[in-house]
């Protein structure tokens, strides 16, 4: 996941690498996703990877829907 100056730069990068355009997030939404995903302390013995269902709920809570964010 890269940071770009603006939409035009994303389009140019996708063209250069022959990749379809993916999904874009504002920094604010990316920060919320990072807090939820990486905030839990992995030193804690109780920490475990999120289940598919929990991940789907997280994406939905941040308004990340559609085929790109589908997990199954």
């Amino acid at each position: 996941m890269l940071l770009f100056r603006d939409e035009e730069h994303i389009d140019r990068w996708c063209g250069q690498w022959h990749l379809p355009r993916g999904a874009t997030l504002t920094l604010e939404t990316g920060w919320r996703l990072a807090q939820a995903w990486h905030g839990p302390d992995r030193r804690d013995p109780e920490w475990r990877r999120r289940t598919v269902e929990e991940t789907e709920e997280l994406f939905a809570s941040l308004g990340l829907g559609g085929d790109f964010w589908r997990l199954r």
Partner: protein, 134 residues
């Protein structure tokens, strides 16, 4: 030492120093293999830690400064994730993926400041098919 204890040692080192311990320092290569199989870590061909998300064990274009450590994220999401995991203010030095212009993102408390747009190229269900590219 259990796998959970190895995991705790890895993340404790990363959060205190920004550096991932070596397999020799951890003293249990099989535990690293099991943690990698469980998608907790990504190892390189020599069995050393390459990624302990959100940290990268090798330099990347996503340098995170907190008041106590400098560390590398695997991507812009992970760079923000280091600030989230450290529960610390941070600033991130990176560059536009297209033109290379320097960009700075600041995390202050619960807020993030900076310009730019994050782009996820790989659909979520395919992230682990090639996690290094993702």
């Amino acid at each position: 030492m259990s796998d959970l204890e190895i995991r705790a040692r890895i993340y404790d080192a990363l959060l205190r120093t920004g550096r991932a311990p070596s397999a020799a320092e951890l003293g249990d290569r099989q535990a690293l293999q099991r943690l990698a199989a469980g998608r907790v870590l990504v190892l390189d061909d020599a069995g050393e830690i390459l990624m302990a998300p959100p940290f990268s064990a090798v330099p990347t274009p996503f340098l995170v400064h907190t008041p106590s450590i400098r560390a590398f994220g695997n991507c812009i999401w992970d760079a923000l994730g280091i600030a989230a995991m450290a529960k610390s203010d941070a600033h991130i030095e990176t560059s536009c993926g297209d033109c290379g212009a320097l960009m700075r993102v600041d995390v202050e408390g619960d807020t993030v400041k900076g310009g730019g747009i994050m782009h996820f190229a790989i659909p979520a269900r395919m992230w682990w098919q090639d996690i290094v590219f993702t």
